[in-house]
Each structure stands twice: as C-alpha cells, then as structure tokens.
C-alpha cells in the first residue's frame, strides 16, 4: 500500500496522534494512519506467524494417518485443522494492512519470509506429537498471550481467538505424554527421547538473546511486541520445570537449577549457531517443508481457477 504524499505538518499531526494512541495502550485500527515502518514490521511479524501455523501443520500432520488410537486420531486431526484456521485468521489480519494472501504465499514459497525455526525439525515418533503440544505449543502460548494486547487491533483479536484454542493444543500434548508415561517401558523411553530432542530447539523459539535481537526494541516501543525474548524464555523455563517433574521426565540441561536469589531457574545456553543455520535454511527439514507447501499450492491452482471461472459464469447468468 502506498502512502499519499502529504504536508509535513499534517504528517506530524498524524504521527503525534498515532504515538498518543500507542502510549495510552489503545488499539490502532486498519484505517488509521500509521508509520510505514510500523506497517512493515507488522506485516513481517504477522505473516511470519501465519506461515508458522501453516508450515506447522506438517510435522504433526505426518502422524494423523498413523495415530495409534481413534481418539488420538480425532484429537490430532482437529488440532492440525485448528492450525489451518489460525493461519487463516492471521493472513486475514495481515490483509487489513493491504497485503493479499496470495502475495504472502508467494513470499513464503520464494523463501523471502520466514516461519518458526522449530518446524524445520522432523517428527520421529508418536511421542513427538505430545512433545510438540506440550513444549512447542507451550512456548508458543508464552509468546502469544502477551500479543493479545498488541497495539494493532486485528492482530490482537486474532491472537485472542488463537490463544483460546492453543490451550487445548498444549493440554492434549501433555495428556498424551502423561498417558504414555503410564504405559510400557518402551513408551516411557520414547517420551524421554522426544523431550531430549526438542528441548533446545524449543528454547530457540523465543528468538536470539535480547542483546542480539535487532528489531525487538522498536517493536516493543510500538506496542507490537510486549515482552523481551529473554524474559519470555525465562518464564517458559520456570513454567516447564514443575510440569516435567510431574510428568517424570528430565530436561536435558545439566546447568538447569533453581536460583533462590533470582527467584528463577538458571539454565544453559542453546546452540545459537545451530539456530542461525536453521534460520538460514540449513535445518533438517527446511527444503522438505517448503516443497510440501509449494506442491499443495501448485496442485491446487486448477481448482482455484475453476471456482473463480464458475463464480464469474454464474454471476453473468444472474445478471442476464
């Protein structure tokens, strides 16, 4: 969307009104004036979030066909379906900023917009379905709950809807792991192995340390982002430790311990080089995830065209 050039005075007035709205924690709505950089940051963040939901369907979708009970199959299918819904809500929020879903899809498939690095890891056992629910969705909730109060109205409203559904996602995952821990020794080992594999990539989901997060500060000033990466990571670790104890699994971090003085857990540093590699496109499943999405999009083109042609033809008949 292009902004019509205007008098510097007028722009100053609009900017002051925008700043005041953000400062009093009120919401910016689609037709309000907003700085181009604010719009750009929002588009980038919401689109990345939407892409994450859509790509995130794949690692779990992998197991719908093999779910080991009919109840689990129903839960998993409903969950992956929710993710399609979440992607759709978020693309809609993004569209209020003047970018179409088709454009965003092109940006994703062209590798010019990112999605959460966690989905570039494979799912190797059914326990991963539980771990993704418990840890990945748990981390996502930590990131997302504050976003319900984000300064851009449509984004915040989408997030409220999403967070309500995410709580089901996290709980189904934890419940699956609890049930498996009550099962056979093999199942318990499967759960532990899965948690070991996902723990560090999950901690990376909060993004690089604050000192190395170039966009964070401005996003926070604008009320787009409401907590720093490190704060959220700490909150997640503190929340997860007692859950892991209740479950009977260990978290694979020798440095993890309660720090009485800080009132928080101390924990080790994720491998940020691995994080950078995955972001760069060199994770275990980057190519596979994009290829899957691209194939679905391309194989669906003739269907979308047919529906458009049919709608045009019937509209014409109606007008005649």
């Amino acid at each position: 969307m292009t902004t019509i050039p205007m008098e510097p005075q007028q722009e100053e007035r609009l900017r002051a009104a925008f700043d005041a709205t953000v400062a009093r924690h009120d919401r910016i709505e689609p037709r309000d004036w907003m700085p181009d950089a604010y719009r750009g940051t929002l588009v980038r963040q919401i689109a990345q979030h939407a892409h994450s939901e859509i790509i995130g369907m794949q690692p779990e979708g992998e197991w719908i066909g093999r779910a080991p009970s009919l109840r689990r199959k129903a839960i998993l299918l409903a969950k992956v379906q929710d993710e399609a819904g979440h992607g759709l809500y978020l693309y809609s929020a993004c569209e209020t900023l003047g970018v179409s879903r088709a454009e965003l899809t092109d940006l994703l498939l062209g590798g010019r917009q990112k999605y959460s690095s966690i989905f570039n890891y494979p799912t190797l056992s059914y326990a991963d379905v539980g771990t993704i629910g418990w840890l990945v969705d748990g981390a996502a909730i930590c990131n997302q709950v504050p976003l319900c109060r984000t300064s851009y109205g449509p984004y915040g409203r989408a997030m409220i809807r999403i967070c309500k559904e995410e709580s089901f996602h996290q709980r189904q995952g934890y419940e699956l792991l609890m049930t498996m821990m009550r099962g056979t020794g093999e199942q318990r080992a499967m759960v532990q192995e899965s948690v070991d594999r996902f723990w560090w990539p999950v901690l990376m989901m909060f993004g690089p340390p604050d000192a190395h997060s170039p966009n964070s500060e401005r996003s926070m000033a604008w009320g787009i982002k409401r907590n720093s990466n490190d704060d959220l990571r700490q909150k997640f670790v503190d929340m997860t430790v007692p859950q892991a104890e209740a479950l009977g699994v260990t978290l694979p971090d020798p440095e993890l311990r309660w720090n009485e003085e800080r009132g928080h857990h101390d924990f080790g540093e994720p491998d940020w080089e691995e994080f950078a590699a995955v972001i760069r496109g060199d994770g275990p499943c980057n190519a596979q995830r994009l290829a899957h999405r691209r194939a679905a999009h391309e194989e669906g083109a003739w269907v979308r065209e047919a529906a458009t042609a049919f709608a045009a033809a019937t509209a014409q008949e109606g007008a005649r």
């Binding site: 299918l77 409903a78 309500k164 934890y174 049930t179 049919f310």
Partner: protein, 306 residues
C-alpha cells in the same frame, strides 16, 4: 486482560475443564441415555457384522480424507475436508464400539490385560480380510476431482441409508443415524457443489472431473447393492436394505449430473471378485497398504496406552 489470558495455563496439571476442547473429538457421549440392549430376535453376530460394515465405511473413508490435511487447494478447503473426516471418524467410533458390545467375539485376540479399548482393537488389530467396507472408500486417492467424486458417490448413498436407519429397532443405530444424517447432509452438499463447480469451471477442471468419474463410477454400484446380511437385518427392522434406497440415490445423482451437464454413466455391475465384495472382506490391494500405515504404531506397541 493479562489475567484473563493467563488462565490458559491454569489446570494444566489437573482439573477437568473441557469447555475449550475441539468439537468432534469425542468427549461428549452422543449415546448418553440411549438403550444399549440388543433388540430381541436379532443374532448378535449379525448385528456386529452390520455395525462393522457401516463403521468401516466411515473409518476408511475418514482415513482417505485425512490424507488431504495440509494438501488442499486452499486453507478453507483444508478445513472443510478435515471437518468431514472428523465427522466420519466420529461415526466410525460409535459403530465399532457398538459392534464390540453386540458381539465380543468380533474382537481380535489381544494379550491378557491389554489396555486397548474395543474400538481400537477393531481399528488397529483386525486383519484386512475382516474389514467390511466398500471399495469406494478404500481405493487410493487422486487429485481434488477424485475426492469430490468419491465423496459425492459415497455420501449420496450413505445419507439415503442413514435417513432410513433412524427408525431402526436398535436404539444405538437409530441414535448414530440421527446424528449422522445432519453431518452427511453437509458432506453431500459440499461434494455436490464442488462437482458442479468443477464440471462448469474450466476445461481442465471438467476433464479432471470426468476422468475421476470414469475411474470411480464402477465402484458406485457396491454402495447400493444389498448384501444378504443387510437384507436379513432389514427384515428384522434393525438394518436398511440398500436396494430400498436405490431409487433415491439414482434420483439425487441424476440431479447433480443434470445441473452439471454431465451424462449419466451406464449402470455398472457391483465390483468384487467371484461375487465376493468388500462387504465379505475381499478388497483391493490399496486397503492393505492403507492398513499398513494406519495400524503401524498401534501394532508396534500392543500393550501401549495412548
């Protein structure tokens, strides 16, 4: 506001607030208050076999539909197909459970003390030859036109059958049918609408639609062919003779073909080998592959809890 949304963490380690759990995952019992005794004068083994026919149709169809998850032409259709798959999965669970309750002998043998519930024993530990679904549900998928045609043929027949099953003397079957009619009405509507859209959309969509119809039409006859067991249960006032629904099925399909400008294919002979069909446990090669995937994890952990 923050407190309100902070509450998503509450109760993670216990409690029973299921208000936000997804629709269709089976946490509500649609059979609450329904009389579950087997009606008099009905052979329990026959009732169980009949429930397997209807239940396996739904289960295998659901498995095929769920293959579309994350692969549909757009997000909206991805969600629609998952809804349909979930509806059918829900029907399958009730019917398999009913089969096991009517005649426990129908259950495959599992180790002593196995925690596997009856519906899962039937879905995951039963061999291919004991599945009683029609071929239409099991054949491997194709493009979007293929799923549209398959679902149209399937849901037109299933809806006509479920409508009649609502008055079954078996209270469970009647309740399952009552719930299923609402769901399958929507499935038929979805498929009919897309059939029309593809038939009159573009040259390519029409070509693909006709190809799918060519491929699947020979399997349609089985959906309205009466198996001796279905006839016997229809006489007992428990089941439905598919032949009694045939006229309606023909009429509905005729309407869809007419508005779509598609010539009605010649009547086909029911599929099968030597007169034996899916209802008798004789299947296509595709079912074996489908079950190999579907049952893999469950069979690797026969003592597992999920």
């Amino acid at each position: 506001m923050s407190d309100e949304h902070g509450s998503v963490f509450d109760g993670l380690l216990g409690g029973d607030d299921s208000a936000q759990w997804a629709f269709g995952t089976g946490f509500e019992d649609p059979l609450a208050g329904v009389d579950t005794t087997t009606p008099g004068g009905v052979d329990p083994a026959e009732l169980a076999a009949y429930c397997l026919m209807l239940g396996d149709d739904a289960l295998i169809m659901s498995q095929r539909l769920s293959e579309w998850c994350s692969r549909a032409p757009d997000l909206e259709e991805d969600i629609a197909l998952a809804n349909i798959a979930l509806d059918l999965l829900g029907q399958a669970r009730l019917l398999l459970t009913r089969a096991a309750a009517a005649d426990p002998d129908v259950l495959p043998r599992l180790p002593e003390g196995s925690p596997v519930p009856p519906e899962d024993a039937l879905a995951f530990f039963r061999d291919e030859r004991r599945f009683r679904n029609v071929w239409l549900a099991e054949v491997a998928g194709g493009d979007f036109a293929h799923v549209v045609v398959r679902l149209l043929l399937f849901s037109v027949a299933r809806l006509a059958l479920l409508e009649r099953l609502r008055t079954s003397r078996d209270q469970v079957l009647a309740a399952v049918a009552g719930k299923g009619v609402k769901e399958v009405t929507y499935h038929r509507d979805w498929a009919g609408r897309w059939f029309l859209t593809l038939a009159r959309g573009t040259g390519e969509s029409r070509r693909r639609l006709l190809a799918a119809l060519d491929a699947l039409w020979p399997l349609q006859a089985e959906t309205v062919a009466a198996h001796p067991l279905e006839r016997a249960l229809a006489r007992a006032g428990v089941g439905v003779d598919p032949a009694s629904a045939r006229e309606e099925v023909d009429a509905v399909l005729g309407q869809v073909f007419a508005v779509s400008g598609v010539a009605r294919p010649e009547p086909a002979q029911p599929s099968g080998i030597g007169g034996r069909t899916g209802r008798d446990g004789v299947h296509t090669e595709d079912l074996g592959r489908l079950l190999a995937e579907m049952q893999a994890v469950a069979r690797a952990h026969p003592g597992g809890r999920w």
